[in-house]
Amino acid sequence: MEKLKSIDIPFDIHKIRAEFPILQTEVHGHPLVYLDNAATTQKPQVVIDSLVEYYTQYNSNVHRGVHHLSQLATDGFEAARRTAQQYINAGSESEIIFTKGTTDGINLVAQSFAKAFLKPGDSIIISAMEHHSNIVPWQIVCQQYGAELKVIPMDENGELILSEYDKLLNDRVRLVSLPYVSNSLGTVNPVDLIIEKAHKSDIPVLLDSAQAIQHLPIDVQKLDVDFLVFSSHKVFGPTGMGILYGKEKWLDLMPPYQGGGEMIKTVTFEKTTYNELPFKFEAGTPHIEGAIGLDAALKYTQSIGLENIQKYEALLYQYAIEQLSTIDSLRFIGQAKHRAGAVSMMVGDIHPFDMGEILDKLGIAVRTGHHCTEPVMNFFKIPGTIRASFSFYNTFEEVDRLVTGIKRAKAMLS
């Protein structure tokens, strides 16, 4: 810890922590050490305030309303779309679809894309390190349309084997869908390369960015990615909200996912004409409050600076790896060269569940289990891992507390 000069740290961590009310709380008599950020992130006061402000000052249904509140709500809602657009540098607002979250976004693409493009004998490529949310939707459509699900394998370090990916690419592949960053291994995948290879065969790529959006600056135009999804709740925004970015050229060709209010131009019982993008994919009253909260969250993150966050988190991650390595019989699950966010581990043959429970009693929140990536656990032949996942509001002292906690639990459980 002492090695780090304050000059290395690009922001005032104490000021930042003060902005997150929950970080001031205690758990079982200890100050909370929240290291479950890959599951969900905590919210800064500005996000909480934005929700309160919405409901106390301008709550109303959006679009089509002539009255004042409806105008304010519509303005706020559409401003959030522009903030999200700018955040990932999308070319147009109409490429930004509000969803319920990552899972909802993947299901939307899976269903609509399949309806437009998937034929018997086609295939969809995913990877060996998927979250269930990027497996099951594709299993469902593959079964529905008689297509095949193919998997890019990984090695013992938790890195995708790109030579195997090359072999899977052929003219029956309709789409490649994979995580930017793995939630259980921390692996940052070489997505530029993966997209480039797919595009050589005109195959679109979806990036599950649930674990990337809060750690890395993302530029969809530079990546040239076709679809990108993330969840608001994992990037300091409210629950029940997410973003699907899709290139207009694809979204235009895809049928709507859900039917209802907002997504139509005209309706008769005989024939319905759909609205234009992005509304075509947004049936029903949207999660207005969620959009407004996400807007505040993205602006907050931008005010700190994604580059600063990335720099700080890299230092923190490095420190965590170093310190955890000092624990006897601890082994990391996932040792990719390029990692971010989550550190997964096993300590001897201690059951992760036991470890998690003891750490909790010490005020340290980690997640244990398969992290919705059962195939990853099967690959490593383990029941689950202990996962500590970091955010920019975590400190080096908290890493120390984690290490001390694991040591203590280990003593009890060995």
């Binding site: 569940f353 036991d354 429970e357 009693k361 029941p383 459980l413």
Partner: protein, 144 residues
């Protein structure tokens, strides 16, 4: 000792520990006293699948009393199983079936354990009572 006496004793034991860490130490310790299930019974049929850890359990009747053996892949779970077996094992089926396991509440397990864990504990108790009812039904059949 009957079921309620054992319960009282456990409540008493736990009252010595102020800190939950000590209680955990004790629970883990108890796991080591668990009458371990015969390897032959460690099969899927004897598995009570929890959300994060697994428990195998076997019940046997001898001289009108039901005896339980078990195992788990997680130590804390093992300790909890051990606790419940300590209370219920070696008693007539009817007593097991009718017992009220008040000690779980009393020693604060229900509020301190993760719900995953305490739900597991409750389904374990349910399973044990089910065994007891099964034996009672068998006795009923025999006596007819």
């Amino acid at each position: 000792m009957n079921i309620d006496q054992t319960q009282a004793e456990i409540v008493d034991d736990f009252s010595f520990f102020e800190d939950w860490m000590d209680k955990y130490e004790y629970i883990i310790q108890l796991g080591k006293e668990l009458p371990i299930i015969d390897a032959a019974y460690k099969t899927p049929e004897h598995l009570i699948k929890g959300c994060q850890s697994q428990v195998w359990m076997h019940a046997e009747e001898k001289d009108g009393k039901v005896y339980f053996t078990a195992d788990s892949d997680a130590l804390i779970t093992k300790g909890l199983v051990s606790l419940v077996i300590k209370v219920l094992s070696g008693h007539p089926a009817a007593e097991i079936a009718q017992s009220e396991l008040t000690f779980i509440e009393k020693i604060g397990l229900k509020s301190h354990l993760s719900p995953t864990r305490s739900n597991g504990l409750l389904s374990m108790v349910k399973q044990m009572k089910l065994y007891a009812y099964t034996y009672m039904a068998q006795q009923q059949l025999k006596s007819q």
